[in-house]
């Protein structure tokens, strides 16, 4: 797995698991790979992956069944969408809007672009 430089690895792994839940390759109440399995697969220290799972558990994305491992929460998808929406609005959107302003794209143009994108 390739990591970006700007974000702690355990959070990048959490994002990846979020992607898999959103794309449906991990399903509600479906089993998440064990810490060691995932660590070996993505070649990352097991304690880093354990930290990812702690983080996801705290956020209600996954839950644990004693002795059986981790599973996807039934409402994981809504929670991920909500938190990504918030992240987007707070961070990336701000940068993006700044760029639009810098090159002089008007609200009308933006609206047209987004409508066209959604229609694709």
């Amino acid at each position: 797995m390739n990591f970006k430089d700007n974000k702690a690895i355990y959070l990048q792994i959490a994002d990846r698991i979020g992607d898999q839940i959103l794309s449906g390759s991990l399903t509600p109440d479906g089993k998440v790979p064990s810490v060691r399995e995932l660590a070996a697969e993505i070649e990352v220290n097991a304690n880093t992956v354990a930290r990812t799972y702690d983080h996801l558990q705290q956020n209600g994305i996954i839950y644990t069944k004693r002795g059986l491992g981790y599973f996807v929460s039934p409402d994981a998808e809504e929670k991920i969408v909500a938190s990504r929406r918030e992240q987007l609005m707070r961070g990336e959107m701000d940068y993006f809007l700044g760029q639009l302003k810098a090159v002089g794209i008007t609200p009308t143009e933006l609206q047209q672009l987004y409508s066209d994108y959604l229609a694709k």
């Binding site: 990591f3 430089d5 700007n6 690895i9 660590a39 070996a40 990352v44 220290n45 097991a46 880093t48």
Partner: protein
Amino acid sequence: MFTINHLSFSYNKRNGDLFHDFSLELNAGNVYGLLGKNGAGKSTLIYLMTGLLAPQAGEVLMDSENVRHRLPKTMSDIFLVPEEFDMPRLTLKKYVSVNAPFYPRFSMEDMERYLEIFEMGGMMDVKLHALSMGQRKKVFMAFAFATNTRALIMDEPTNGLDIPSKSQFRKLVTTGMSDDKLMLISTHQVRDISDILDHVVIIDQSHVLLNTGMADVTSRIAFRPLREGDQPIFVLQSPFGPLGAVPARDGEETKVDLEMLFNATLQNPAAINQLFTTSK
């Protein structure tokens, strides 16, 4: 698992001590990265830890046994992969049958699995001296991991490995690691191993400049472009503006840049020390 107590060592009295009153504790369940400049004493420390060199003062204990006594129970639980080594003129199968009996927890199944990871499956009948340098290293490392010793110590393990095998090496570590084991990787190739470490130890002869968990680094230092109000510990000029290692602010967490951490520690040990000794 390892307790290094007040160790002093020199190769040659006239040149002074390489280690003087050096102490360090290493615990099971961790993958340690041992970093230091050329001549900082990394390899020497490894030979002292594996009982190959005798300290002039102090001791290295593994589970409270002095490694220098080289007791069978100690030696059968430590495996050293040195930077350079010779392989005998044997087939791999013969090599394993001669050497595996020294390691009670050796597993043939693991050996095959690790060879497979290195894309060297089905090579048990190959003659070791017919292999290339990199292939020998892979075979030797597959054997090292398959011994399942609790301590596995590697000196520059990724040197001489081609590009795909560096990733395979990381897979070997993350597959072979378990809570009762300790792995110590001494290296200059920090990019090869950054993501697989639990803990980083930076030494400079008698001094342990930094000995800390990677999670601790993440929470204390941010590695990123500098912003107004930062008080950087280390600054690196780049074409896109200055980057630096700065005390983490407002709960920010970035990916650890081991190279920058290493340079920051060597350049400004006092600031690093202060940052890691204040409680959070």
